[in-house]
């Protein structure tokens, strides 16, 4: 490029007060390749832009430098202007002489000298700029939602309602997530099942939602708009096309197990349905416990099934699906039992976690809704709730707040009091965190109405003595040690990311934080986007949150998908890395430092070399340094451009 123009902006007094604009114009116009250097009071204004356009046309400029404010402010403005002037937008560079010069320096002489340097650097850079064109990629307008909990279902419904196909993948054999296990919900005490079942039913019958229960994502390739996923559909050993859910098989199955859904509190069968309202309303066989699958005998279910739906030969199936966007709604688990040994969790039957309490309180649960303790079925008269069991505990590596425990503990305590009015409730808490609509009021009502004892402090130990659970704790407000002889202890166990999220994150090339929660692209401005374009994030897989927030996030991700699908192609930033094929040694050091797995292998003249997938590349340039030969370079920030800036800076 030869014919460069320089435009220096006064920005009113903002720049001209400390920088001698005239000198900047004079000095820069002496540059051999600058054929025009001029100034204007407000370049970004309409007349300013008009002026630039006219000069470009008149002088036949091939590129220009705008010496004005930060590119963060107006780079887009002047690049768009360039395309209107029929110059490639990437042949426009900005010299930041306001934020990084006139506003931070006082001495006019110094500031002017620096401004001249900054403009010279930009001139040298723009001389090495090349026209860049964003690549566009076709787009597959079909979304995949991973996890059919309340967040995932909401996202799937919204997207499907908008007219796009959705693939809803769920690892359990039924949809609805953890909410199906809950009895009532805070702060309104709505019955969880009652508000959830309309949604599960809607998902099941929606013509544009393809439900894949009991399935897991094994592999994802591709990039935004063009993902290809491999999904494992796990064998249920029941042909769901035939099964009517008549449940004869369940009744007659001789093998009793304690299914996960009931948190080990209620007996189930080896062939079973998780709960009466399950969607899909189909039975499945538990592979680990089924007598026939393990010993080759039994097969009672197969004999009895009127539809002949039992198929012991069924195998896992791998299906390939093409999609354009992915929503990750993987949800949560509770902290491992072994980490809460001081509370005797896992050792004593009557020390339970919040989810177990939900099952006990549920009318379809182990005691049909009567609150009894698991060990002997007695109604507990003294019950201790321990909040922050594992949460906010640096020692256990979980310094974060699990967010929902304050609320559900209050809810559970209140429900207990409704059912056992003469029972005594003790709640150990660190702080009450009830930030949410109607939450604080709910807690206050609970404490005031129901005569619960809220104790601010932590519990050091729970152990059994004389058929009671002895709880040793501390009331930090009175400074007293407390000992309670309780019948049952309920732990508000810490929320952890659900099992397998780490592996899924690797598959999706997204990152997880130190606790295994999925990392959002920006904590404030991109809270539901992932680091990989086209992958969005909803629900507790991101961080602990309540149902309302999860639903809101589900809808929010759906709206992101709409805006992506509203176009017919995706445009990629052209500032991506590029490989010089002849100079690549094939050592693939670039591959190891790339955070986006954008480096692929390519056969070239009998050797394997690196190739940049420009749809995946985000343009960080780490690869350009890992590459010793300089065979890989970053468009828009090439070695030449940076070296040219450096050289200009060293001119005296």
């Amino acid at each position: 490029m030869r014919n460069i123009g320089v435009f220096v902006c006064w920005c009113g007094l903002n720049i001209s007060r400390t920088v001698d604009i005239k000198r900047v114009v004079e000095e820069t116009s002496s540059h051999p390749q600058v054929i025009c250097s001029t100034d204007y009071k407000y370049l970004c204004s309409e007349p300013g832009q008009k002026l630039i356009k006219e000069i470009v046309k008149e002088k036949g400029l091939e590129g220009y430098v705008i010496a004005a404010c930060s590119p963060g402010m107006h780079e887009t403005t002047f690049r768009e202007l360039a395309s209107r002037c029929e110059i490639n937008p990437y042949l426009c560079e900005m010299a930041n002489i306001r934020e990084q010069c006139s506003w931070v320096h006082e001495d006019r002489e110094e500031a002017t000298g620096k401004a001249i340097k900054l403009v010279n650097m930009a001139i040298e850079k723009v001389l090495h700029n090349e026209p860049l064109y964003p690549e566009s990629f076709p787009l597959n307008k079909r979304a995949m939602v991973i996890g059919a909990g309340v967040a995932g279902m909401q996202a799937a419904l919204d997207i499907a309602d908008a007219g796009y196909e959705v693939l809803l993948v769920e690892k359990r054999p039924f949809i609805g997530g953890h909410m199906t296990q809950l009895s009532e919900t805070f702060p309104t005490l709505d019955c969880a099942q009652c508000i959830l079942t309309p949604k599960t039913a809607e998902v099941a019958r929606h013509p544009r939602i393809t439900l894949m229960p009991y399935s897991e994502v094994e592999e994802v390739k591709g990039y935004v708009g063009n993902f290809e996923a491999v999904i494992r559909r796990k064998a249920t050993f029941v042909d769901w096309n035939k099964c009517t859910g008549c449940a004869i098989c369940i009744e007659k199955c001789p093998k009793k197990i304690y299914p996960e859904f009931e948190c080990g509190l209620k007996e189930g069968k080896s062939i079973d349905m998780a709960f009466p309202q399950a969607v899909p309303y189909k039975v499945f066989i538990n592979k680990e416990s089924c007598i026939f699958l393990n010993q080759g005998k039994c097969g009672v279910c197969a004999k009895l099934c009127p539809e002949e739906a039992i198929d012991f030969q069924q195998q896992d199936q791998l299906v390939k699906e093409k999609i354009g966007a992915i929503i990750v709604a993987t949800g949560y688990d509770l902290i491992d039992k072994s980490e809460l040994a001081e509370f005797g969790y896992g050792k004593y039957k009557d020390v339970i976690d919040g989810m177990q309490f939900e099952r006990i309180n549920s009318s379809s649960g182990p005691f049909s809704g009567v609150i009894r303790r698991p060990s002997d079925g007695k109604i507990p008269k003294e019950i201790v709730f321990i909040q922050c069991a594992g949460s906010r505990d640096r020692e256990k590596g979980k310094p974060y707040c699990s967010k929902i425990c304050c609320m559900y503990t209050a809810k559970q305590a209140r429900l207990y009091k409704h059912k056992v009015p003469d029972g005594q409730v003790y709640v150990f808490y660190m702080d009450i965190r009830a930030g949410g609509k109607g939450y604080e009021e709910f807690i206050y009502r609970s404490v005031e109405e129901s005569g619960m004892l809220y104790l601010r402090g932590q519990v050091s130990r729970v152990f059994e003595e004389d058929g009671k659970l002895i709880v040793w704790g501390m009331d930090t407000l009175s400074g007293k040690k407390i000992e309670i002889n309780a019948d049952m202890v309920v732990l508000a166990s810490a929320i952890v990311p659900s099992n397998g999220v780490k592996e899924l994150a690797n598959i999706l090339k997204i990152t997880t934080d130190e606790h295994g929660f999925i990392q959002e692209a920006h904590p404030k401005l991109k809270p539901i986007e992932c680091m990989t374009r086209g992958v969005y994030l909803a629900g507790c897989g991101h961080a602990p949150k309540d149902i309302a927030e999860s639903v809101a996030q589900g809808s929010a991700t759906a709206s992101k998908v709409f805006s992506l699908f509203s176009r017919n192609s995706v445009l990629a930033e052209p500032t991506v890395s590029i490989v010089n094929k002849d100079e690549c040694s094939g050592c693939l050091s670039c591959e190891t430092v790339c955070p986006y797995q954008a480096i692929e292998k390519e056969n070239y003249r009998g050797k394997v070399i690196a190739k940049v997938n420009s749809a995946l590349c985000q343009g960080c340039g780490s690869c350009t340094v890992a590459c010793r030969s300089g065979a890989i370079d970053l468009r828009g920030y090439t070695n030449q451009q940076i070296m040219a800036e450096l050289e200009a800076l060293l001119w005296k």
Binding site: S585, C587, S629, N639, M643
Partner: protein, 327 residues
Amino acid sequence: MKNQSYIELTAMLEQKINQLLSENKVDYLIVYGKGSFWFKTRPLLIRKQTEIEKVIWNRFCQFNLSTFLKPGSRKGEKIGIITKKCDIRSVVELIKNNQINKDNLYIIQVACDGIINWQKLENLLGATVSKVIEVEENALNFVIKMPETNIEVLKNDYLLDKCLICDYQQSFYADEFLITSEEKVEEIKNQFLPSLEILENMSYEERLEYWLKHFSRCMRCYACRNVCPVCYCPTCMFDSQEGLWISKESKTSENYVYHLTRAFHTATLCVECGECERVCPVNIPLMKLNNKLAKEVSEIFGYQAGLKVDEVSPFKTYCQEDSDEFK
């Protein structure tokens, strides 16, 4: 190890090579052959059994033959290579960096008791060096046999610096390990040449002066780069975009950037074989740069190049807990 051992090893080597060629296990072998002068050796490429007699193995086999794996490695031919216990590390680095496929490589590691620094010998003997009949050895000394007289010198004074601190053992990656008597297996330790300390203890200005004095002699023949077994780039960055990184003129400041970049680029890859320094026509002490970086890399990351094929180089990974010495 006595002279006898070297004779024995050469015989074993010949036998092994014969076997490999006759069984077509390799297409060719990279070995040591006799050089132009009695103590000099040269790399040799043999394809035929009839060439086997040219193979030698002695105290003067200094080259790191793995340099010759850089080209040719992509033709898919099966290559046999002789390595000393130190050189095999650069073979490992080439495998690690996808420059050669281990499946196409047959590595013969030959026992080595240190390589004689012939330059020191030359300095000692001067012109009479051409009259030497043979160098024999006893437990402590080399016995230089001359027509009239024998000169005995202390072994440690005439070995290569790197051999004095060498404690590498049989590599896991050698396909064949030729050895005469059982050698003691020691743990690999990190030792660094004491001569670094002199430099390290200088002031910045003294050190800069020291290096600039050396770099001012550099004529950028790039021999150090070309001989380096881990400088495997098909086109070096200093060649590809000429004038971009440094100007073509042989100025000290340009040489400085070249040498520092070279050192930085080989950090985590350099196996300290000493070839760069050996070939430097103007005797720039390049190994001091390499040794220093190897030492620092080892101290910071606990990493040494060329020990394991599956070990990840520190520049290809990171650790959130890396020390934050900058603030």
